[in-house]
Structures are given as structure tokens and as C-alpha cells.
Amino acid sequence: MTRQMTGAEMVIQALADQGVDTIFGYPGGSVLPIFDELYQQDKVHNVLVRHEQGAGHAAEGYARSTGRVGVALVTSGPGATNMVTALADALLDSIPMVCITGQVPTHLIGTDAFQEADTVGITRPCTKHNWLVRRIEDLPHVLHEAFRIATTGRPGPVLVDIPKNIQFQTGTYENFKGKPLTQYNPPVKGRVEAIKEAVALMAAAKKPVIYSGGGVINSGADASRLLRQFVEMTGFPITSTLMGLGGYPASGKNWLGMLGMHGTYEANLAMHDCDVMVCIGARFDDRITGRIDAFSPKSKKIHIDIDPSSINKNVLVDVPIVGDVAHILGQLTEAWLDLNPTVDTAAHKAWWKQIDSWRAKKCLTYKNSSEVIMPQYAIERLYALTKDRDTYITTEVGQHQMWVAQFYGFDEPKRFMTSGGLGTMGYGLPAAIGVQVAHPDALVIDVAGDASIQMNIQEMATAVQAGAPVKAFILNNQYMGMVRQWQQLLHGNRLSHSYVEAMPDFVKLAEAYGAVGIACSKPGDLDAAIEEMISIKRPVIFDCRVANLANCFPMIPSGKAHNEMLLGEEVSDEEIGNAIGAAGKALV
């Protein structure tokens, strides 16, 4: 069925036809016709942010916690350039997102008009695809194709740039949902021979390990269910990247904890010593592999990824399987049951015994204190007091983020939203708002650092206006903690510009925004303060004063291998100072 309508109406109609009821946006000159249409209908609801970057991260949080597409709507020029960080973030973490930007009228494009920027040029390398729509005839199909591209294959952000005169023009609208505009159509099923080869390798494994990632979460609820079933069936130990936490439950008996730079001792040593590695929806990122030429030297590697370019990009693998995690896990399960292999039970038993000896190191141990709140303790208490609730956690980037990954046990997918690939400070608060809008009755907590929270603190006003009772739980140590830790490790403890001297009074700041402020600095008061935070049905800033100079351990120093980890308890200051060689100092 077709209808005549303006370009601006088409945008709203296409959103409604795609089942979108919530978007995140900020108006401006070039996008006013669309905001005018928003005003005149009630199918699509806009959450007004305070900065376009916030709209982008809110859309990301919305998308990651629901599995649906996050939509942002911003104006031309600075509106679009402010969105760039969020687009790059969504690209690296494979978040489905549609960003609609206004553009100056077509006859002004190229004239350096007011608030003109080459939006498609600027965002080309940080989107999966983008369009500048110069003709009203093209708009309906491009809008629907944007949703298809964002969600098909490896998900990612797409951008549709719409000049203002196109928004005013009238044309024919048609619902193109399910009708592709381009030939883009990545495969979901893995090659049968590869599946067979993988199952044969796994069946013969003596020291197997599963290394799962964000692909499990992105693939949907089926993928997590199949992964759990697969682990149960094979009995293999499993670790996961930051992005994959919750795919397999942290309370599961085969769980080794997160791997990588701040991963657990047992996860990293299992990766180093295994003979068969099954990588499921992860991409051998440098935070995972450490020193690449010493990465898991004795293993045969199976790599499941929907993006062919992920395969052999950083690490050469033996059996690549290109396709969707859920489909392939289904195929693998079927092939395993068909083969019904007799595994080397004695070898598996010995492998688990070895793993248990690594676990016995208790690598996450820290020295607790009755005087000052240790940051690890704060996360442990936050976990203990929120785990039985309907809780979603977002984070900013830094030490607090790693402590959450280490000490907060995620048992379900889509419960943990964090900026993994790009490492965007300022992600957590707007992302939490996006999550809260999608789950109005849930408890949504942004675990933040005192530095990160200030990168997008303006979004507190968004939370108050939207009635989104998010909690910003700040581990306040007065430093950019991870920067300070690196300066200690790499730069002779010369703490160049990592001390935040002029810290705002977060309690007063919360009150200034119309939110609630809570401060806590004594371990004995912490539980009650957290309970109070949970009971408040309004946005809260929780200023949790923690030990200033705590370091995040364990840690694989830059340029080192998985079996060269620094463990917290046993490291002296001198060892920390000498931990990273000259070559490692050049790495990030």
C-alpha cells in the first residue's frame, strides 16, 4: 500500500513500520521538519538528551539491552559530528543502530552553509553503511534498508543523512520492510565440512577451552541457550571476553571468569595451555591475546564469526566457520550428538585438575580494609545487594569497568552494557538511560569512575526529564584510576595530569539536577547506603569514596604473554615499575 506524504512524515512512518516506539534525539535547524512531525503523533516517542553523543550511547544501551535497533535523531553539522564517537563505539562493539541526521538543503550542499558538514564523509569509516538521500523517491526504501543493514550479518550503526528540503518534499511512501534494496545478504549457516572438522577436533581434545564473545549476545537469546547446552554437553571449561559476559552464567560450574589483560589467572592460563580452542563470536582483540606470537602456542583453533574479515585477522586459525553463532552452535550440537564421541575422560579430568590448581591461586584476592572502602569490595557489595533483582549494569571505561567484569557475576545475556572496543569514557550514563527507558521497572546502575562520569554528566538532566531512575554508582578515587595505574607501571609513577583536583560535590550536583545524591566513605555504612540507593525511585548519584591508589589486578602487562601475568597480592612496587619492557611501553 502506498501513500503520499512528506519526507519528514516518511521518517516517522518508517520508524513506526519498523516497530520503533522510542528514539533518542536532539533538535536543530536542519531536522526541525522531522521534530515537527514527532510533535503531531504519538506512535514514536523521543527522549530528549542534552548532547548528541548522549543520544548515540542511549540508543546503544537501548539496543544492547533489548536486542532491537537503537535509533538516534540529530541535526546537521555539530549534531552529526557530536554523534561520531557513539557511531564509532557502536561499530567496534557491533551494536545495531540507525542514526538519522538532518542536512542542509540540497542546493546548499557544498557551499559551507551554516551548520553544514560532510556527514556521510565524516561518518563513512565509523558506520557499517551510510546514505545521503538526495531524492524523495529514494527515501522510503533507504530508511527501511537502513534497519536491514543495521541488523543483518554483523550488526552495526548505519546513518541516513536527509537534507531539509527533502524532508519538506512530498512523495510516495511504501513500506519496504523485508524488501532488500542492496544485494547485501551475509550467510548465517556454517559450512558442513567445517562443522565436521570442528567436531572432530573437539572430540579429540585433551585440554579444550571455549572462548566466547559479544557475538553470542548479539546473536540473540537462542545463542546463549545453545551455548549453555553446548558447555553442558561437552563439559569444556569456558571463558569470555568483556563483551560476552552473561552469555554463559558466571555461576555456572564450567565458568573460568573473564580472560585477557585483566582476566583471571585460570582463564588466561587455560587459554595459554589448551590444545583445542573454540572461539565463539569473539575476535582475538589485542586486549585478549596479549603478546601475539606467544598466544596459545600449542592449540588448534576453531573460530566462529559472522564476519569473514575477523578470521585470520590477528591470529591464524585452523578451522574457521563463518556464520551466525546461534545457527552454528545448533549445527555443532547436532554434529556432536551424531558423532557421539568417546572423549578422553582421563585427560579431561587431568585438565580440570590443572584448572582447579590455577583457581586455587584466587587471583582476584585483594586486601580489604575496615577503614576505607576498597573498590573491589564496593562492587562485591553492589553485586550481593542487586543480584536477586531485575538489574542491568552499564559502566564507563577504566578500573571500575574491569572491577565490574571481575566482581559482578552476570548470569544472563543483555544485562551488561559497556564500551569494549572503543573504550569510550562517558558511555555509561547515557547508555543506562537507554536501558532504563526500555525497561522502566528494572534497576539500572551505571558503575562509573569519578573522571568518566564527568564526560557526559549533563545526561543527568535527561534522566530527570525522562523519569528514568538510573543510578550512577561512582567509585570515586580522585584519579583517572587506570591512567594512574599505567603511569605507575610505565612512566616511573609520574602522575601527569591524572589527579582530579577540582572534584565537584557529587551530592550537591545530583541535587542541582533534581536527582538524589548519596555519599559513602566507610565500609560499615556501604550496605545501608546501597539499599537506600536501590529504594529511591528517582535518578541517584552515589558518591562512593574508595581507596585512592588501588590497582586493578591481575594484569597481563603490555607486550607479555598470558602466562606472564601480574597477580595483585604478590606484586611489589618495584615489580610493578619493571613489569613492562621497552617494547611493551610502545604498545597501548
Binding site: 556521510v120 563513512r124 551475509p186 550467510p187 574479515s309 585452523d318
Partner: protein, 191 residues
């Protein structure tokens, strides 16, 4: 090796088939002829630190809005296969074929070569041009413009000889390349 949109791919067999040495590869890329597609390809190369030795692009099927990009790049096989996969995941890319891997191919380039001078050198330039099968497309009392078609190395050779005969300037088209035999990029099966 070939990468086709919408088909399952793997790369692990490559290392056994081709020697692991750095060399130049000619890639044929079939793309939707839409605004920005060339920028996407070029941006991919510069953004990921791959080099481009030569790049040509032109519409080859008007009704289907298809263009063909021929790009010459250098690298070891894993890098080349990474480049192909990165190209393959661009939305407007239909197909990526490595002509260097898929067997024999024909490679041609066209150059316009201007030489200036009088007397003996001018005669010598004309004689050499004839020896190279170059056409004379412009002549004045003190200059020639030759048109030469051949492999890039043919043209290199011609240009370097013309330096001795008063070379003024050169314009080259970049490489056009096709696989030998019956199969075309569109209808050939994926390998």
C-alpha cells in the same frame, strides 16, 4: 580465490596454496555504482594501512548500475586475503576476485606520453614510438604526443626510454584487467 556477497567464506586453506611472500596482486571488485563507493574503497585502504599501487574504476553495466574497480596492491597472502575480506564486507561490494591467485589474467594500461625537442632527438622519439607500437595522436614542429597500450611494465620501459628523447609529461590510466578464458566475474563460480 573469490569472495561473493551472501556466500559462506573461509580463508584457512590459502596459506597452503600460495607462497607466503610479499608480491603485487590485482583485485577485481564489482560494486554498485552509487555515490561514495570509490571513497569507501579508498578509505578502507588508507584507514587500515594497505597500499594502493594502481586503481581504476568505471561503470561496466549501465542497466544494473555496476562498476568495476581494478586495484593493484602489495602484501603477503594473509594481508591480501584480509584486504579482500574487508572489501567484501562493504555493503555495495558484490564480488571480489584476486586475478593473481585465480590463474592467468590479462592486464593492460594506456598512457599518453608527451615529448618535446627538435632535430635528431625528435626523429629518434618517433622511431622508438613505432618500435613500441605507440600511436602518434598529436604532433607539432617541436613535440609529439604518443598513445601506448600495454602492460604496466611495457609502459614503464617506453617512458624510461622517452626520458632520453625529451620527455615532457605522462598521463596513465591505471590498470584494466580480466581473467583469461570463458568465465566472467559475474557468472563465474566461487572458488
Amino acid at each position: 580465490m573469490m569472495i561473493v556477497a551472501g556466500q559462506s567464506q573461509s580463508t584457512y586453506f590459502l596459506e597452503e596454496e600460495v607462497p607466503n611472500t610479499e608480491r603485487s596482486h590485482t583485485l577485481s571488485v564489482l560494486v554498485d555504482n552509487e555515490p561514495g563507493v570509490l571513497a569507501r574503497v579508498i578509505g578502507l585502504f588508507s584507514g587500515r594501512g594497505y597500499n594502493i599501487e594502481s586503481l581504476t574504476v568505471s561503470e561496466v553495466e549501465h542497466e544494473k548500475h555496476l562498476s568495476r574497480i581494478t586495484v593493484v596492491t602489495t602484501g603477503r597472502p594473509p594481508v591480501i586475503s584480509q584486504i579482500m575480506h574487508q572489501l567484501g564486507r562493504l555493503v555495495p561490494v558484490h564480488k571480489v576476485v584476486n586475478l593473481t591467485w585465480s590463474g592467468e589474467s590479462i592486464e593492460r594500461e594506456l598512457a599518453l606520453v608527451k615529448v618535446g625537442g627538435r632535430g635528431e632527438l625528435r626523429d629518434e622519439a618517433l622511431r622508438l614510438a613505432q618500435a613500441f607500437n605507440a600511436r602518434t595522436v598529436d604532433a607539432t614542429l617541436e613535440s609529439y604526443v604518443f598513445e601506448i597500450t600495454g602492460t604496466p611494465s611495457d609502459i614503464d620501459r617506453f617512458v624510461s626510454i622517452m626520458k632520453e628523447c625529451g620527455l615532457v609529461e605522462v598521463a596513465r590510466t591505471g590498470l584494466a584487467a580480466l581473467a583469461r578464458g570463458r568465465a566472467g566475474i559475474v557468472d563465474s563460480p566461487a572458488s
